[in-house]
Symmetry: C2
Subunit: 190 residues, 2 copies
DNA sequence: GACACTTCTTGATAAATGTCAAGTACTTCT
DNA sequence: AGAAGTACTTGACATTTATCAAGAAGTGTC
């Protein structure tokens, strides 16, 4: 039986025993979903941890008529609405797919049970959260220390693969600027 | 024997058995330190988790001649340099005390051992990271969705206790604006 | 292939915020 | 108390970035 990419990625974060891997496989769901699918809507509770096998997704807040992208995730990475998943409160953000995507997911209930069942499970839970935390930390530092142009350049440098696939208007709000500003930066007029 | 405020706060996050509490007490250090003490310097590895019993602390990045405050913590809360603590790489930020402070801390090595030793330890580790993550999440949302004035007003509303004690020039950079902008907002000239 | 729709570009202008500079009020230190 | 440093205020001006508007280019659909 082939190992799931989800599990491969997890074992790169924390080693998992054979028994744990087998158990984990039981609780995973794999779906092929088309572009524009809304995976999580505002008001729903995020009760799943998602993993993108192939494809692209983003989370965004609706701010009046504006959509403000809060998170972007490509293949081989995890995604959830942190606030809603961790607190089990209704989500303030929407998660939608930006490409046809193969999504692997597990419910929070199943994962919590799994975490408690294996000693390495709890460690995994911690490491996953820490993985997310480090991304927030870096992102916040970027917003505090860099100008719009530098934020764009850094993103392009660090995520060359995603950069070309994300509609710029979404990347713009993710990097805390308007689509017009981003367009001017990229056409070297700023 | 009186319970440490550190442990009180932890048990509010995750229940700890008597045995775990006793063990935890063994690894805690309590220090009374004067204002302006540098708790963690740039280049050092953050190998302790801190807890502020009384007092006030901040973390900041040096950006040329500018200091950019990245985190502010008052009594009854935890603090570390997330990047350095989690990756054990040299810290890019400084942690300093803004008031005379009673600091409780434990080394990462001792904590990791503690986490592994008790089933609730690992859960605690996760919950602590999640606690931090939720703060990052909220802060990032504030930066993305609010204007300078609204960020100040929200901070004043949500942290009335800290607000009056933090030198405004530090709070300003924490909220991603200059000291002058903050001054004008607070004197109602904006 | 033509239509509709969305994304991107570009320009003119405005608003928010930053920079520089000078002065005042507070603290802290001795 | 006086000196020295630090925090805050205020004004004039600069810069960055946003807003509004219109059009061009690209994409998906039937």
């Amino acid at each position: 039986m082939p190992t799931s990419p989800f599990i491969n990625r997890l074992t790169a974060i924390a080693p998992l025993s054979e028994a744990a891997q087998t158990q984990l496989k039981e609780i995973l769901t794999r779906q092929r979903l088309p572009k524009s699918t809304v995976v999580l809507a505002v008001g729903e509770v995020c009760d799943r941890l998602y993993f993108i096998e192939t494809g692209l997704a983003r989370a965004f807040y609706q701010d009046g008529p504006e959509e403000i992208t809060s998170w972007i995730v490509g293949e081989d990475d995890f995604m959830y609405s942190a606030y809603s998943y961790l607190t089990q409160q209704p989500s303030l953000e929407t998660i939608e797919l930006l490409e046809d995507t193969v999504l692997i997911s597990a419910t929070r209930a199943d994962l919590d049970e799994f975490y408690g069942q294996f000693p390495e499970g709890n460690l995994l839970r911690s490491l996953l959260t820490e993985h997310y935390l480090l991304q927030y930390d870096q992102r916040l530092r970027g917003l505090q220390m860099l100008r719009a142009k530098e934020r764009v350049n850094r993103y392009a440098r660090e995520h060359p693969n995603l950069f070309s696939r994300i509609p710029w208007k979404h990347l713009a709000t993710y990097l805390n600027m308007t689509a017009e500003t981003m367009s001017r930066i990229l056409s070297k007029k700023m």
